[in-house]
């Protein structure tokens, strides 16, 4: 692929956003960056991968952090900045890739090759999917869904001026529950193909 293309996928927990990203990665033969980005960061940090995973996509705790001249002591905050920096470097180097979350629709906004999506879903479908994937009861699945979405929202909104899931921040927002994962992927591919013609 000559033209640079960066596909950003924001997602609600249980909407299948990650699976959609994996399928797009296979279709377009592009590397997928999600928590795997941490592997790359782990090589140049003093922390182990599992420590970074615990800090990934989490909002800084305001009681335990402080900002001085735009700098902050929070490990979660600084890890997010390292990831943003790495994504920007890859984008500036002309690399094409798919990225899940990480405020990528805002961080890479200036890049002309960016196409951003937000995958949402109906509550019942998402809960069912979480129950199947993680072997949880309905109540547990619901609690997990609310908790994950709350964390993602807080993380996103602490770095970006636009709100998480607000359709004005993305090129296309789509409800994966209506058509299912495969059909949703097809619609997304049509949109990408139209944009990259």
């Amino acid at each position: 692929m000559e033209q640079q293309i960066i596909i950003s996928i924001g997602r609600e927990f249980g909407s299948g956003g990650h699976e959609i990203a994996q399928k797009l990665s296979e279709i377009y033969s592009l590397p997928l960056y999600d928590h795997t980005l941490l592997d790359e960061i782990a090589k140049k940090t003093n922390l182990e991968n599992h420590e970074l995973r615990a800090l990934d996509e989490t909002k800084r705790n305001k009681l335990f952090s402080r900002t001085v001249k735009g700098m902050n002591n929070s490990a979660a905050h600084n890890l997010a900045l390292l990831q943003f920096d790495l994504l920007k470097k890859k984008a500036d180097a002309g690399e094409s890739f798919i990225v899940v979350g990480r405020c990528s629709e805002t961080i890479l906004k200036e890049n002309k090759g960016l196409i951003s999506f937000f995958i949402l879903g109906d509550k019942e479908t998402k809960v069912q999917r979480i129950m199947n994937l993680y072997g949880l009861s309905e109540i547990e699945a619901q609690a997990t869904m609310y908790d994950k979405d709350r964390r993602r929202k807080q993380y996103h909104n602490s770095f970006c001026p636009g709100k998480w899931g607000d359709s004005r921040n993305y090129d296309l927002s789509i409800n994966s529950s209506k058509l299912g994962i495969d059909e949703t992927v097809k619609i997304i591919c049509e949109y990408i193909n139209a944009r990259t013609k």
């Binding site: 900002t67 001085v68 490990a75 390292l82």
Partner: protein, 451 residues
């Protein structure tokens, strides 16, 4: 009574809002300052005199503000303009020094002088950090020192975290040694009428002895970590030359002279009668005149937000003072200590240290000054001893946690930018014991010297 309740509510709200960072801290203090003027002085006290006294503008137009035959105390009530003008002047001077590459040159020069050996760099950078922080704000000291430490760690293949943590601690410690080293000291000095020499002879001695203790502590805490990762570098020809850090030779010489002049003026200000407000204004004016076309750039870089933060803060604390809240706190400390001065010292130093470990030490110190003044008046305690105790407690306590002092945040963030993430556990494991050692040592030294 209503004025007291309002003053306390505004003060507590200010602290909560600063911690939550919903708005920038200067917006918070200015907003709370405005509320203090309107609600506490206007509605509660209905006193225009309290407003005038707190705004304290007329003090600027008096001779003692600029020149005092003997060091006169600024009114501790209301806005301490001497502190604000001095800090603004030093900010301009420091920007001028940074612009020409002074700090990077100094760090690289010292690294070269010790032949790029890790342990000697570790020790000399701690001393350098303390020394620079005696005259320059600790944020600037750590910004440059941490950046050079990371650069050297990549060349010499050592883990920079131990060195950065030690530098941060020493910057906070060095700041406690002088009147201009840390904002609480400037406020204490100008409010209570102490000179640079007074600080050096008291907190300076405490900081000097403590520095020896922390050098030993950090050496034993980190020696293995630094020794195992450091390689013996024999060929240093590819290393950056210190002189390459200088961006403007003429500017470098001028900046160095201005810095030395500032040091001399500060050290001798009790003898010359020049106040810190005069020194700040003079240093800023000379820096701007000699920097020529770069002057607007330097003025643009001044941290106006911090200056506005101070103005709002002084008004809010003025509200507490005018309504008598701080006298109530002072009599409470007097009561629980039962008039025992040693116990009073212990309470002030430990409460200041613990509070400063979690909240901004500037509002804490500004609030405590009228308290110790009242304590000295009512309990017959030597005010200067309480002042040195407060200075040490607030300056050193901030080192204990990552959020306790600005230098800590800057050091942690600078390291994180290069991939070295310092979490709370890692930080506190080394820094909290060092803080306890220094506070304890200082308390014992105060007992030994003054009782």
């Amino acid at each position: 009574m209503i004025a007291q309740v309002l003053a306390v509510l505004i003060f507590l709200s200010m602290f909560v809002l600063i911690v939550t960072e919903i708005w920038e801290r200067h917006i918070v203090t200015l907003g709370c300052g405005l509320l203090t003027l309107l609600l506490v002085f206007g509605v509660g006290m209905q006193s225009i005199d309290a407003v005038i006294e707190t705004l304290n503008v007329k003090s600027i137009f008096t001779l003692p503000f600029w020149y005092a035959a003997s060091e006169a105390a600024e009114s501790s009530s209301g806005i301490n303009w001497a502190t604000i003008i001095f800090i603004a002047g030093m900010m301009i001077m420091v920007e001028g020094m940074a612009e020409v590459g002074f700090f990077r040159w100094l760090c690289m020069k010292i690294a070269k002088l010790v032949h790029y050996r890790v342990i000697p760099i570790f020790v000399t950078f701690m001393i350098l950090s303390s020394f620079l922080a005696m005259f320059i704000d600790s944020i600037t000291v750590i910004l440059f020192l941490a950046a050079v430490t990371i650069e050297l760690s990549q060349l010499l293949k050592f883990n920079p975290i131990p060195m950065i943590l030690s530098e941060v601690f020493c910057a906070n410690l060095g700041g406690s040694a002088t009147m201009c080293g840390d904002p609480p000291n400037i406020i204490i000095g100008t409010s209570l009428g102490y000179s640079f020499g007074d600080f050096i002879q008291n907190t300076g001695v405490l900081a000097g002895i403590s520095l020896i203790a922390v050098l030993i502590y950090f050496y034993f805490a980190f020696r293995k970590e630094l020794a195992k990762s450091a390689e013996n570098v024999t060929d240093t020809s590819a290393f950056p030359e210190p002189k390459d850090a200088i961006t403007d030779r003429r500017g470098f010489v001028i900046s160095t002279i201005i810095f030395l002049c500032a040091v001399v003026m500060l050290v001798t200000h009790a003898q010359t009668g020049l106040t810190v407000a005069f020194i700040g204004t003079f240093i800023a004016a000379v820096t701007l005149i000699t920097s020529g076309r770069k002057a607007p750039k330097l003025l643009k870089r001044v941290d106006y937000k911090t200056l506005l933060f101070f103005i709002g803060l002084f008004v809010v604390v003025g509200g507490l003072e005018q309504t008598g809240i701080l006298n109530i706190i002072a009599s409470f400390i007097g009561t629980i200590s039962g008039g025992n001065v040693m116990l009073m010292i212990a309470i002030i130093i430990w409460v200041s240290a613990v509070a400063s470990a979690f909240i901004d030490n500037i509002p804490f110190a500004a609030t405590m000054i009228p308290v110790i003044k009242s304590l000295a008046a009512t309990q017959g305690v030597d005010l200067s001893i309480l002042a040195w105790t407060l200075a040490i407690g607030t300056d050193i306590g901030g080192s204990a946690t990552p959020i306790g002092a600005s230098a800590n945040v800057v050091g942690i963030a600078t390291a994180a930018k290069e991939g070295y993430i310092i979490k709370w556990g890692k930080y506190c494991k080394v820094m909290a014991p060092a803080t306890i050692i220094v506070v304890l040592l200082s308390m014992l030294l105060i007992y030994a010297r003054y009782f």
